[in-house]
């Protein structure tokens, strides 16, 4: 009897403690919400993002982390939001686990409400009918401030599904010191310039780097990065396949890579066989290439503003050797630069609770258009002309990227099954580099398998079913 009464007492005490701590938590979250939550219905939403930049404005802030910006935006949003008592939880997920996490959570009914990510990686979720259209939250002000080519990249069918925030244009990066050491000074661009070479000039550069680079100073170094072990960095490979012409997708979203694609593949094979690139491209990853560039084993590699700033930060912190790095465009036969960009922005996943969708949309609109918050887009390249104008003094590259923007092509074509389509390219490139397939055969097989993927995904696409 004594034992029973002691047990009941213990349970009661624990229940009371749990009750107290529960209240304390509630009070805490209300306080977090800015103290204006009285009488408003509480609506909790989850926000996921992949690592983009650290800090609210930049990485020098104390305690800067990948979730700092969205946490700050959530706090600012809840303080001024008068429809509901919004409770926003921000979570960072690894980029390479994005699809795995999303697929598992979508099937389990626990998808996030908002996802902040490069939009090309999220296009499949539009086709699968998992995302909410955002057309109704885009106002005229945003439409005029953000250039049309960015809107085109986030429009599927008749609707906009992502709110563009910033973009990361892909370019080449080169080691100007290695150029100079190889006697290629005339090809070195300005420090804040994105240099455009013709294809003929580019081939001269590769030849010069191969033959004239002093071996004592740069032993075990190669002219250009080439990689095809997996789908990482494949957008650069897709760009190389457009060197002889931009015709890639037709208006129905089918791959129409023909003669120009074969010429491009033949060019890649030519420079690989001529040893203008790192060896073993079929089993080298873009990460390997990036590391080799930082160790001065490659003179020309791939980059985007995030990677470029990362290399500079590594040099500044002494974790990689210091040398003069500059930007260049991917050359093309026509002489026009080849440039693409990853538009980064937020999307809203469908929810059974319309209030969650409402709060999620309001939150996305808020942080994508608030004049203070959109300045954080300077960590990539802002999509808003107003932000570029205001901050161009801070980053001289903004003007160069802006000048490039008219050459941007939509590398994904917004086709259904894009992530599956990515898996079709690198095996063909591997076969090409290994000599197992001719350029004609590799392109033919890529077109066939790619169109098969697109076709099967079209059958399930809510955009194509409309």
């Amino acid at each position: 009897m004594k034992k029973w009464s002691m047990g009941i007492t213990a349970v009661t005490i624990m229940a009371l403690l749990a009750g107290c701590s529960g209240n304390a938590n509630n009070e805490g979250s209300s306080a977090n919400g800015g103290g204006n939550s009285k009488g408003k219905e509480k609506v909790a939403i989850n926000v996921w993002l992949t690592p983009q930049w650290k800090g609210v404005l930049d990485a020098t802030e104390q305690g800067a982390d990948y979730d700092s910006f969205l946490k700050y935006a959530a706090k600012k949003f809840t303080e001024q939001y008068d429809k509901y008592d919004a409770d926003i939880k921000v979570e960072v997920v690894a980029g390479d686990q994005r699809d795995q996490l999303l697929n598992v959570n979508l099937n389990g009914g626990t998808a996030p409400n908002v996802f902040f990510e490069s939009t090309f990686a999220m296009g499949d979720y539009v086709h699968r009918g998992a995302l909410e259209p955002l057309t109704d939250i885009i106002d005229d002000n945003a439409k005029s401030d953000i250039a049309q080519n960015y809107w085109d990249m986030v429009t599927f069918g008749d609707d906009i599904y992502f709110y563009p925030f910033q973009n990361n244009p892909g370019t080449l990066v080169y080691n100007a010191d290695m150029f100079k050491a190889a006697g290629l000074e005339q090809y070195v661009g300005g420090e804040n310039e994105i240099k455009t070479w013709t294809l003929a000039e580019y081939e001269q550069i590769l030849e010069g780097l191969k033959t004239k680079l002093p071996k004592d100073k740069y032993s075990n170094a190669y002219p250009m990065a080439l990689f095809a072990v997996n789908n990482q960095g494949d957008t650069w490979n897709l760009s190389y396949l457009r060197m002889f012409g931009l015709d890639f997708f037709d208006k129905d979203g089918n791959i129409v890579l023909g003669e120009n694609g074969v010429k491009s593949a033949a060019w890649l094979k030519k420079i690989y066989d001529a040893k203008y690139t790192n060896p073993g491209a079929e089993s080298v990853s873009s990460n390997d290439a990036n590391a080799m560039f930082q160790n001065q084993q490659l003179a020309i590699s791939f980059t985007n503003p995030v990677l470029f700033n990362g290399i500079k930060a590594n040099m500044a912190s002494g974790t990689s050797p210091k040398f003069d790095i500059r930007l260049a465009n991917i050359p093309s036969e026509s002489g026009d630069p080849l440039t693409f960009t990853y538009v980064v922005g937020a999307s809203v996943f469908q929810s059974k609770d319309p209030k969650k969708t409402e709060v999620a949309k309001d939150f996305v609109k808020f942080f994508s258009s608030d004049p203070e918050l959109v300045k954080s887009s300077k960590n990539g390249i802002p999509v808003r002309a107003s932000v570029i104008k205001e901050l161009s003094g801070e980053n001289p590259f903004f003007a160069a990227y802006d000048a490039n923007s008219k050459y941007i092509f939509n590398f994904s074509g917004n086709v259904p099954g894009y992530s599956q389509l990515r898996e079709a390219l690198y095996p063909e490139l591997q076969a090409l580099y290994m000599g197992a397939k001719t350029p004609e055969q590799a392109i033919k097989d890529y077109v066939a398998s790619g169109n098969k993927v697109i076709q099967s995904n079209k059958e399930n696409s809510v955009i194509y079913k409309k």
Binding site: E282, V284, D288, A289, M292, Q297, A436
Partner: protein, 291 residues
């Protein structure tokens, strides 16, 4: 009625003891298997599930990459299991009757790779084998052998993965064999010694037959483990070059998590389950018969 009551009384406690385990077994093993079989007959997308009969299986048998994955997986199973059993038997029979400290040292040396995460092992091998800046490639270049790209060649990629997996797994089998061999009755060895048997005869006529249940067990667990080979492929080759090292598990992963083809992925899972069952049943039968 009385019989049933006494039967219940006698066995109820036992059933209650295994009840928690049975519940976990049913919820986390039997149910997923049944659900996997069900899903393999459906086409699943975010909005609905459509019954498609054997369409997923038909799609698999029309995909050349699936056949490549199947053949590669069988090659991996055969070679890795043979190597593991053969080498573990060789090492264990060579040292089981030696000084205890020496046995411990050898056992520990082979077991260290088992304790190291396969992810770490794969990253180390990736660093060694990288054709552009790996250590092996560097020494090959220095020795005038030119560019060595073992992972980028369809002729060498499979032997390399077989070796890496074998090196990471063999310690477990050596430990099991040594434990089993130490347990073999000393009388048999003494009798053989009296009869003038050679070391080879002792190993082949006494030791190997005596540890047969262990051999069967090691074979089964290795077959099952190798059928699921994934981490090494994902980190070292990504299934390449040109699908040269793609395995069933990697193919399943790609379909489930990259392409969101859950029906196809489930069909691959069902086929793998069937293969494992087919390979394991005769061995299990042999083991049970012996007991």
């Amino acid at each position: 009625m009385r019989i049933r009551n006494s039967f219940l009384k006698e066995n109820l406690t036992g059933y209650l003891f295994i009840l928690p385990q049975m519940l976990i077994f049913l919820a986390f093993l039997v149910y997923p298997i049944l659900e996997g079989i069900r899903l393999s007959f459906y086409k699943i997308n975010y909005q609905n599930e459509t019954f498609v009969g054997f369409d997923n299986y038909a799609a698999l048998f029309h995909d050349p990459v699936f056949f490549k994955a199947l053949v590669n997986t069988v090659v991996f199973v055969v070679f890795i299991v043979l190597l593991t059993v053969g080498f573990a038997l060789f090492v264990a029979s060579a040292i089981f009757d030696k000084n205890a400290k020496y046995v411990s040292f050898i056992r520990g040396s082979y077991y260290i790779p088992v304790m190291v995460s396969m992810v770490v092992m794969s990253m180390v091998w990736s660093f060694l084998l990288n054709p552009a800046n790996g250590l092996i490639s560097y020494f090959a270049r220095e020795a005038g052998l030119g560019t060595v790209n073992l992972l980028g060649n369809t002729q060498t990629v499979m032997p390399v993965i077989i070796f890496v997996t074998f090196a990471g797994n063999v310690g477990q089998s050596i430990i099991l064999y040594i434990a089993s061999m130490i347990g073999v009755s000393k009388d048999l060895f003494e009798a053989a010694e009296v009869d003038g048997a050679s070391r080879w005869q002792v190993i082949t006529k006494i030791l190997i037959p005596s540890v047969q249940p262990t051999t069967i067990y090691i074979t089964i667990i290795n077959i099952i483990a190798v059928l699921k080979i994934f981490v090494v492929i994902q980190l070292l080759t990504g299934g390449g070059p040109n699908n040269g090292s793609v395995t069933l598990m990697y193919y399943l992963y790609n379909n489930a998590f990259k392409y969101n083809q859950l029906g196809i992925a489930s069909a691959v899972g069902v086929i793998m389950f069937a293969i494992t069952l087919l390979l394991s049943i005769p061995q299990l039968k042999a083991m049970l018969k012996q007991k």
